[in-house]
């Protein structure tokens, strides 16, 4: 329900609350974001002026806070003095959000404070004016941007390193967790410090999962979770374990093809030489092949031939 030609201005006020010291709430194994209650302290206020055609604004949330979202709309052709506006979250209207909006300074203004305390608080918030104009705010914790679209391939018995890196431009996660896809569930990987097979190493914005002694059963999807105060965002890394036979087959095919080609070429040359004169210097270079292998297989004749002058 958007008026195409209408310019929407939305203002977003962000009140971030800080506690004394950052503490990662919840251990690495917890999947529930912490519920923090405490007196909100106002720290820096960021406002984003939002103009233009795109009516979607992405907001990165790393910790529980109270967020004030504000939308401003310049109205349509006829500007009634009084319209109704309401808020939506994830598509469904919020219960008590519908209220009348008055026209002030040729603009309609809709503002509401939302208390984001946990992962459920994140999502897609929309302010809607009179069923005519809409602005979307996507509240989400930072995700790993560079997602590798093809699987990491490794071999049985080998070890592999799966890596996730949060970009430097995004807030660094408090810690990282790893999960392994098990059917539709995700099972946490929590290796003991001296576990022979798994080893997790976190360093700054990067996390590395080393899996040793791979077997084919280790293939599948792995998830690295960036842990923030507000929640955990997952990023998928695929692993594929194959045996060495798999690349060996094309290898042998190509080597065979090379052998055949070289033999054919040298055979052709020999028959041609036989057909014309027995005065060719073929033996010369053949005698000097540095390794007697495929190419030398066909021509082991090292006798020098007499040249017809």
């Amino acid at each position: 329900m958007l008026h195409p030609g209408v310019k929407l201005c939305a203002q977003l006020l962000l009140l971030s609350l800080s506690w004394g010291g950052t503490h990662s709430t919840g251990g690495p194994g917890s999947t529930l974001p912490p519920v923090v209650s405490g007196p909100p302290l106002s720290s820096d206020v960021r406002s984003v002026v939002f103009k233009g055609e795109s009516q979607v604004e992405e907001v990165q949330v790393v910790r529980p806070l109270t967020l004030a979202l504000e939308c401003t709309w310049t109205g349509s052709q006829d500007r009634p003095h009084n319209i109704s506006g309401f808020w939506r979250k994830d598509g469904s209207e919020l219960a008590d959000s519908r209220r009348p909006v008055l026209l002030e300074n040729q603009q309609y203004n809709l503002r509401r404070a939302f208390s984001i305390t946990d992962e459920e608080g994140l999502g897609n918030y929309s302010c809607v004016f009179d069923n005519q104009a809409e602005v979307d705010f996507i509240l989400a914790a930072p995700r790993v941007g560079e997602v590798r679209d093809r699987p990491t391939v490794s071999y049985v018995g080998d070890s592999v390193v799966l890596q996730c890196k949060m970009e430097d431009t995004k807030p660094r996660p408090n810690s990282w967790t790893w999960y392994r896809a098990n059917g539709t569930n995700k099972e946490l990987l929590d290796p003991e410090p001296d576990s022979p097979r798994y080893h997790i190493h976190n360093h700054e914005g990067k996390t590395k999962l080393t899996v040793r002694n791979l077997t084919e059963a280790d293939s599948g999807a792995y998830y690295c979770g960036a842990v923030y105060d507000i929640g955990v965002t997952l990023s998928r890394v695929d692993l594929r374990v194959i045996t060495f036979l798999e690349p060996l087959k094309p290898f042998l095919v190509i080597v065979g093809e090379v052998l055949v080609l070289v033999s054919l070429i040298l055979l052709y040359e020999r028959t041609k030489a036989h057909g014309t004169h027995p005065d060719n210097p073929l033996s010369d270079d053949q005698a000097h092949k540095l390794t007697p292998d495929d190419a030398g297989g066909e021509v082991t004749d090292s006798s020098t031939r007499q040249r017809k002058v």
């Binding site: 699987p151 040359e269 210097p281 020098t304």
Partner: protein, 510 residues
């Protein structure tokens, strides 16, 4: 009929027939040599993760491979001179193949340095030298075209290898990919099998026991000791040839500025606001244009208007290239960058199609193998210094423009230097030719000898068919400035027999 001229010449270049098959073999061989180290970069990220090293450490693999390919020039030149192109190419192909197979089992970065970098690089160096040499043996009249066609291997192979490597990486990981790439490199052995050595004339006993006779095979191993005593890995007498020095200087200048724009083009495009994917496509555009420029340049260089003064054509190509880089800072949007990439491809292709041809022109097929060996190992320095210097410029000023200006200025200066020095050199050679013409006015010159004048460098020291030592020389990136075109021209004009010609060649060049 005088004995000496025919005895001196190993053969008349066929200029066709099986020669085109040899060109195809060289195409494959040169293609692998130049494009392989560039195409390896696809695997670096994965290897970097597995071995836990920094990106610059893994990037050294490609640098070592390229550097060894160049530095191995003199050695490969000597081997080609001794054994001929075919065994050397096959050996090179085997070395490369085995090195990649070994690398697929590697567990440390040093192992990769040695396997891929050193052994692989040496194999490629053997391939390169042998391929270029055999072209100079099979072609004379159509040599520029043959060179242009053979050098097209580089962009064509790069065009195929890059996506192929991506495919292998997705399906087999980097280890499996190295294994398969090792098998693919064995196709250099196929290329080597195609390089049928030319029959060399028998050497009469009065001739100095040259490696040529040994090459012919009729003498068996008798002349081996003679050969080894004559074989030098580095022939410093080449430095007495002004044409060679001019070529070398201009070439080095070209190489200094040639690679850096390629390395930094994507990041420059990104800094101008182009998205990653489009920035990467710029290099593909350049490669694509390059693919068609090289044979075209070869064809053009073969025409009767350009061939006699082919060194000017090379200097023109370098000037074009340099100007292109100088104008690059003006390109700030994606369409203008595409135009730049296209012109870059044209300039690049032109230079590389001519680089070896011009050196062959200056030195002639006999001295070419040693010359290319020297040229490559000397060019190793500017080639390796160029990109890091450019990178330092970018880091210091935070702006890519200075990089392009520097590279463009260096290449432009090199091109102008070549042009000016060549004017002098051609003039000098013409003068000497006229003087010699007057001397030998009354000689009885049979038709055959006149025809053979086109190969002035076929002197007694020239090895037989396999003897060309095309050094790894001039990685295509080298703006080798061949200046010897004058000799061919000169040869055609003068009516001297070729024996005197080869004598003159040494006189003139000293």
């Amino acid at each position: 009929m005088p004995q000496s001229p025919t005895a001196k010449l190993a053969h008349t270049p066929p200029d066709g027939g099986w020669g085109w098959v040899v060109v195809f073999g060289s195409f494959i061989s040169i293609g692998f040599s130049y494009s392989f180290s560039k195409a390896l970069t696809v695997f670096f990220k994965d290897i970097q993760q597995d071995f836990d090293v920094s990106y610059s450490e893994i990037a050294w693999v490609a640098s070592i491979m390229l550097a060894t390919m160049y530095a191995g020039g003199p050695l490969s030149g000597m081997l080609v001179n001794r054994f001929g192109s075919r065994p050397v190419t096959i050996a090179g192909g085997l070395m490369c193949g085995l090195s990649m197979v070994a690398a697929s089992f590697g567990n440390s970065i040093i192992f990769l340095y040695v396997c891929i970098g050193l052994i692989g690089g040496l194999g490629l160096s053997l391939n390169l030298n042998a391929s270029l040499t055999i072209i100079s043996k099979y072609f004379l009249v159509r040599r520029p075209l043959a060179n242009g066609l053979a050098m097209t291997g580089s962009p064509v192979f790069l065009c195929f290898l890059a996506p192929l490597n991506q495919y292998f990486l997705s399906n087999f990981g980097w280890r499996g990919s190295f294994l398969i790439l090792g098998a693919l490199m064995l196709h250099c052995c196929v290329a080597g099998a195609l390089m049928r050595p030319l029959p060399s004339a028998p050497v009469p006993p009065v001739e100095n026991g040259s490696p040529r006779g040994r090459e012919a095979g009729t003498q068996g191993t008798k002349l081996k000791s003679n050969c080894w005593s004559r074989v030098k890995i580095v022939d410093l007498s080449l430095f007495r040839d002004p044409g060679f020095i001019i070529y070398l200087i201009g070439n080095s200048m070209f190489f200094f500025g040639a690679y850096a724009p390629i390395v930094f083009l994507s990041s420059y495009a990104v800094s101008q606001g182009v998205d990653d994917f489009s920035a990467a496509s710029l290099l593909s555009i350049m490669g694509f244009v390059d693919m068609f420029t090289r044979p075209g340049t070869g064809l053009l260089a073969n025409t009767k208007w350009i061939r006699p003064r082919i060194q000017y054509f090379l200097s023109f190509a370098m000037v074009f290239n340099g100007t292109c880089h100088l104008l690059c800072p003006l390109a700030t949007s994606y369409p203008s960058l595409v135009v730049y990439a296209a012109f870059f491809g044209i300039g690049f292709g032109m230079v590389f199609a001519l680089i070896f041809e011009c050196l062959m022109d200056i030195m002639g097929p006999l001295r070419f193998p040693k010359a290319i060996g020297l040229v490559t190992i000397i060019e190793c320095c500017p080639m390796l210094l160029g990109p890091p210097t450019a990178g330092a410029l970018v880091d210091h000023y935070g702006d890519h423009r200075y990089l392009f200006i520097m590279c463009g200025a260096v290449i432009l200066t090199g091109g102008l230097f070549l042009f000016v020095m060549n004017v002098y050199n051609y003039h000098r050679i013409d003068k000497k030719g006229k003087a010699k013409d007057q001397e030998l006015q009354g000689d009885d010159v049979p038709q055959q000898e006149r025809a053979l004048e086109h190969m002035p460098e076929e002197g007694p020291q020239a090895p037989g068919p396999g003897g060309d030592e095309t050094g790894p020389g001039a990685t295509e990136e080298d703006g080798a400035m061949g200046e010897d075109g004058a000799m061919g021209d000169h040869g055609r004009r003068s009516a001297d027999d070729s024996r005197k010609r080869s004598q003159e060649f040494h006189d003139i060049t000293i």
